[in-house]
Amino acid sequence: MNPDASTIAAGAPIEVDLSPVAEGQDIKVFWRGKPIYISHRTKKQIDEARAVNVASLPDPQTDEARVKSGHEQWLVVIGICTHLGCIPIAHEGNYDGFFCPCHGSQYDSSGRIRQGPAPANLPVPPYQFVSDTKIQIG
């Protein structure tokens, strides 16, 4: 009953070119059937994400730990609400991040849970920068 070989093969890493994504924009790509949000964050969004008192968060994690150093403007998260798996909407909610329309969870500009029933932050998928404008997810 576990995934068959073709499903596993189709889940191989993918490369995404970031050059067309302007500051303040985000794109949604699918990897392993899951939507991955790639946000080109503005200075304001980064500052907001870093100004938070980490200890006060429901799932404490620093913004630095959620992005790759040297590429702070890029946030890459799996866009699946950690509550019950709906897809949050980007650029909505009170925290300049994501808002889940199903049960009202709100995530900040670092994809961390700030309000609502979700127990954890939006997970960061495994990825690395192949070049300055290209990442490999997986």
Partner: protein
């Protein structure tokens, strides 16, 4: 099933069989001479109703499976095509979909009856627990069946429910992967759900056999909760119980047929007429009505794992009921306090069901928590406590004595309760249908509404013209073939007219001998060609918002009716939320944007569109389409015509449905009356 039988058939061939396999004796002892308490009321007919419904679901399900394709790309279309093209496919689908709801409705009545009359008490504990197992299997079957049409609610319901298992520590994620057969809900998930949905009903049938076996060993409970002592306390199963069950089933069929023929989509969700899309979440994910109380419990508990545990324990706790309630008196008829708490419990369940359909905010969350506590308190505090402090009224010595003392009043209350409870509970789902922050579309007078509604042929023909000249430049109509235009119940064109209409279109065909695709004139068997080759192209050409296919639009759109309108709708058969919404949106464009509303660049203000910012520019203006029949060429008339046409495309067999429904109702009413008078006659000496 209750011991050896002394049944001897008179026919020699049957005697020969009986000596080798005493199956006739088994049937005879279990369903003919089996002694059944004389004082059973109509609540006891729900056992027979449930057996009937199980048979019905299996029968319709097997036939549906012959026409269904369990593939993520084809499932939605195959369901639509089976409704449109298979002989009586619409009837099969309605029977199966409404049948699931009716099955659950009956099982809830059956369970509450057991709860009220103490049917779980000694010596019927195993019988009760088998019942809880059947209920759990039913829930799993119902859930997987709801996924199969692969609409938006199917897909997202599957996502939310399978994600529940991820709350289990350590092994949760692997269980979820196992359920999905991939990294998310997808084609492998659909395939295994189809397989299991076909399997589980037969498991249910197996456990039902055990359930009936246990019943026939322990004997039936009865409204007075005293065991039969002498022969005077019982009557033979046939004809007494058989005919009474027959009457019960006939009455139940009336309710069932009301849904099948007149309100097939009342219990469903409009979003499920939108094909599954893993990239878009519907604004409200709501399970089918029969899961709503448990869904409300899940959402009331703020911790994810605790919520899942709470939801499952709400069902599992029923298994322990025989030991939680230690009172010696079985029937709540003789337990004044237990009776009151029972009805409070019923109210709690109905309110939880209502809350399960509401958005989880503000007062709803608090009310949900209070009611969740009440739900568990009934089992864990009230029942154990009552068995210690309550003084029951004296119980009659025997069933015969109870019958002498009784005054007949149950029958009328059964009918009233059935309709009232049903309407209240079943309808709560409707509330969740979303279109917040927009005005309610005005109601219209539609030719196709009501039990005798028919499509206005002129409106269908004019609507087709409006579609062809205006809508078709952006919107597809991909489930409609040109041949449909000549079918009965449609716009009323002849076959030749439909063929001529088709030949105006260029249809892509191929590959030919050289391996190239080519274009040829349309034939009646072709479907309306879509304006865009795929969704991405449609999106790119329309500023990011793909124009939806219109084949099902009038069933895929709805708006919130709210309490108490959804109860009124049950009786008035109001089913036209979709058409009202579509026609309102077509007329809802306004040049002047009201204050406080900002419309983004490239969008237009629409009074009735959720959020008010619609990407579609005002499509219709007065005089745009010429009519040959002298009808006014106004936006209002265009909207009405094209909406009527789109209602037909969404439901081409509606006229056949309503016509057959009327015949079925006449038949059922006569049948129920005959059953009733036969029952009176059979029982004449037994009361």
């Amino acid at each position: 099933m209750s011991g050896p039988s002394d049944y001897q058939p008179s026919n020699p061939a049957l005697q020969w069989l009986e000596r080798r396999l005493p199956i006739l004796g088994l049937v005879h002892s279990s369903f003919v001479v089996y002694p059944t308490p004389r004082n059973l009321n109509y609540w006891w007919t729900f056992g027979a109703i449930l057996s009937f419904m199980l048979g019905m679901q299996i029968l319709t399900g097997v036939i549906l499976a012959m026409h269904y394709t369990p593939h993520a790309d084809l499932a939605f279309k195959s369901v639509e095509l089976l409704v449109r093209d298979v002989n009586y496919g619409w009837l099969l689908r309605n029977m199966h979909a409404c049948g699931a709801s009716m099955f659950f409705f009956a099982v809830y009545v059956h369970m509450l009856r057991g709860l009220y009359y103490g049917s779980y008490k000694e010596p019927r504990e195993v019988l009760w627990i088998l019942g809880v197992i059947i209920y759990l299997l039913m829930m799993a079957t119902g859930f997987m069946g709801y996924v199969l049409p692969w609409g938006q609610m199917s897909f997202w319901g599957a996502t939310v429910i399978t994600n529940l298992f991820s709350a289990i520590p350590y092994v949760g994620e692997s269980i979820v992967t196992l359920l999905w057969g991939g990294y998310s809900v997808g084609n492998p998930t659909l395939n295994r759900f189809f397989s299991l949905h076909y399997l589980l009903p037969f498991l249910i049938a197996g456990v039902v056999v055990l359930h009936v076996w246990a019943l026939h060993v322990a004997g039936q409970n009865n409204p007075d909760g005293v065991e039969p002592k002498t022969e005077k306390d019982t009557v033979p199963f046939t004809p007494h119980a058989t005919i009474k069950d027959g009457f019960g089933v006939a009455c139940f069929l009336l309710l069932y047929a009301w849904f099948i023929f007149y309100m097939p989509n009342y219990l469903g969700d409009a979003d499920n007429y939108i094909p599954a899309n893993p990239g878009v979440t519907p604004p409200h994910i709501v399970p089918e009505w029969y899961y709503l109380p448990f869904y409300a419990i899940l959402r009331s508990i703020p911790n994810k794992l605790a919520g899942v545990i709470g939801m499952f324990s709400a069902i599992i706790i029923l298994c322990f009921l025989p030991w939680l309630d230690a009172a010696k008196t079985k029937s709540s008829k003789y337990r004044p306090l237990a009776k009151q708490f029972f009805w409070i419990f019923v109210a709690v369940c109905i309110l939880l069901g209502y809350l399960g359909a509401q958005p989880p905010e503000g007062i709803y969350v608090i009310a949900g928590r209070v009611l969740t506590v009440c739900y568990f308190a009934y089992f864990l505090i009230v029942l154990p406590l009552l068995s210690r402090i309550e003084t029951p009224r004296p119980v009659p010595n025997s069933i015969s004595e109870a019958i002498l003392a009784k005054s007949g009043k149950a029958v009328a209350s059964v009918a009233v309760m059935l309709v009232a409870a049903g309407a209240l509970f079943l309808g709560s789902l409707q509330d969740a249908r979303a279109s917040e922050g927009s005005d309610t579309p005005p109601g219209n007078k539609w030719s196709f509404s009501g039990p005798f509604g028919k499509y206005d042929r002129g409106a269908l023909q004019r609507g087709l013209k409006v579609y062809k000249e205006v809508c078709s430049s952006c919107h597809g109509l991909s489930y409609i073939a040109f041949r449909n235009l000549a079918e009965a119940g449609g716009p009323g064109y002849s076959v030749a007219q439909a063929a001529a209409f088709a030949s105006d279109y260029k249809v892509k065909d191929g590959p030919n001998d050289a391996g190239d695709m080519f274009e040829r004139p349309g034939r009646p068997a072709d479907y309306f060609p879509s304006p865009f080759p795929n969704e991405q192209a449609a999106r790119a050409a329309n500023g990011g918002a793909a124009p939806p296919d219109l084949s099902l639009i009038t069933k895929a759109r709805s708006y919130k009716r709210g309490f108490p309108m959804f109860i009124v709708d049950f009786f008035s058969q109001y089913q036209e939320q979709g058409p009202d919404y579509v026609s309102a949106v077509l007329q809802g464009f306004e040049e002047k944007v009201p204050e406080g509303v900002t419309i983004p660049e490239g969008s237009y203000y629409n009074k009735y569109f959720p959020g008010h910012a619609i990407k579609m520019p005002k499509p219709l203006s007065d005089g745009q389409v010429t009519y040959d029949d002298g009808s006014p060429t106004t936006v209002a008339q265009y909207s009405k015509d094209v909406t009527t046409f789109l209602m037909w495309t969404a439901e081409p067999h509606m006229e056949a449905r309503k016509r057959l429904g009327f015949q079925v109702f006449i038949f059922l009413i006569i049948f129920a009356l005959l059953m009733y008078f036969t029952k009176k006659k059979v029982w004449a000496d037994s009361h």
